[in-house]
């Protein structure tokens, strides 16, 4: 399992990999939005959490459509499917690699970008923690979509339609957690986000493996 995880992280980090693409997209959006909204810091701080969460989800999605498709096209997926590793374990390894290559770097960069939105220190902390807790759910839900669309040419068009509705709770609770820190009114968003993320991570490998199995047999 660690062999597959290590290989996927390496591939994502190399030239032509998806890790830098996602990070650049995230930073680009977070830089452009304050320029478009204007310099009203109070207003920027209100929307900061929501905008950064939406940007993080879209950035992670950029790297998702190749999660299984690249291995499917060059024949690696057949060889991986026949290895001693079960498809469930392979799906979990590839999902974890996607998170390490996109979700984790986005999370680490987020406090810096939060400053551009004038978020106070406890807002920055809430943003960081909510992304740390919530981005695994983005990779987990996304993997199911990537598994379903792996044999579809131009699957990148269908993937967001499948995955984005499933990720609405993560965006709502994630942005809610930042607002909780700003308003100092407890709303329980972080707990709900953690529960959602946990359920997504536990169930995703099974759903993803079922989707991949379906596609390999066709």
């Amino acid at each position: 399992m660690s062999a597959l995880l290590l290989r996927d992280v390496r591939l994502a980090a190399r030239a032509g990999g998806s890790a830098m693409l996602a990070l650049a997209f995230f930073a680009g959006v977070a830089t452009l939005v304050p320029l478009g909204i204007g310099s009203d810091l109070a207003r920027l701080a209100r929307i900061g959490g929501g905008v950064l969460w939406v940007a993080a989800v879209l950035a992670a999605l950029l790297a998702l459509d190749r999660l299984f498709q690249a291995d499917y096209e060059d024949g690696s997926l057949d060889v991986i499917a026949l290895s001693p590793l079960s498809l469930e374990a392979a799906a979990a390894a590839k999902t974890a690699a996607h998170w390490l290559a996109t979700g984790l770097p986005l999370t680490l960069l987020s406090p810096l970008l939060g400053v551009m939105f004038g978020l106070p220190p406890d807002g920055l902390l809430a943003l960081f923690v909510s992304l740390l807790v919530g981005t695994p759910a983005v990779s987990a839900m996304g993997a199911v979509g990537a598994g379903l669309t792996l044999s579809v040419r131009r699957g990148g068009l269908i993937l967001p339609l499948i995955v984005l509705p499933l990720l609405a709770p993560a965006v709502i609770f994630g942005a809610g957690a930042v607002l909780e820190a700003l308003d100092a009114i407890p709303n329980g968003a972080l707990g709900l986000l953690a529960a959602f993320s946990f359920a997504a991570c536990v169930l995703s490998p099974f759903a993803t493996a079922a989707a991949v199995r379906l596609n390999l047999g066709s």
């Binding site: 499917a81 026949l82 001693p84």
Partner: protein, 176 residues
């Protein structure tokens, strides 16, 4: 088929050679009928269990453009839990010179050799090979014949879909 035998599957394009191999590997469920493997007194009918016995050489070579030949082979050796005898496999396929070259610089024939090295490295009893001779030069074709022959001598089974003669003694199955 018994241990130590090789089988060549022949037939025109679209006859179902690749589909048959995918069914044997458990990647594709047969529409009807069962595939049974007897090994050590046990009978295996489940597709995924059958897959754990199979070494797969598809028409796609599973070579990543960003990974060097050595990285590709050691990854698959680790994934299959087999001995990391990468240098030996490279030598056998005449790839020693290319070990540290990324996959994107390899020709089609060189990629096929990497896939063959992977097959030899992964140490599975049942080899399923789809057009192993495609894109190979004369020397490469002889290497394939040697590989299959030594695999069978070691008690393995090789089932090979091919359009060309393999250059060794084997049974033939012609799909119409």
């Amino acid at each position: 088929m018994d241990a130590g035998q090789a089988l060549a599957i022949e037939g025109p394009n679209g006859a179902g050679k690749t589909s048959l191999l995918r069914m044997l590997a458990g990647l594709l469920a047969p529409a009807s009928g069962i595939i049974r493997i007897r090994i050590g007194g046990a009978e295996i009918e489940d597709g995924e269990e059958r897959g754990k016995l199979a070494g797969w050489l598809g028409h796609a070579d599973a070579v990543k453009p960003q990974m060097t030949v050595r990285e590709t082979l050691s990854f698959f050796a680790r994934l299959y839990g087999s001995a990391p005898a990468v240098d030996e496999a490279l030598d056998r396929l005449g790839l020693a010179r290319l070990a540290d070259l990324p996959g994107q610089y390899l020709s089609a024939g060189q990629k096929k050799r990497v896939a063959l090295a992977r097959l030899a490295l992964c140490a599975r009893p049942l080899w399923l090979m789809d057009e192993p001779l495609a894109a190979l030069d004369g020397a490469g074709k002889r290497v394939v014949a040697d590989l299959v022959a030594s695999h069978c001598t070691d008690g393995g089974i090789a089932i090979v879909a091919t359009h060309e003669p393999l250059g060794l003694d084997c049974r033939r199955l012609v799909l119409a």
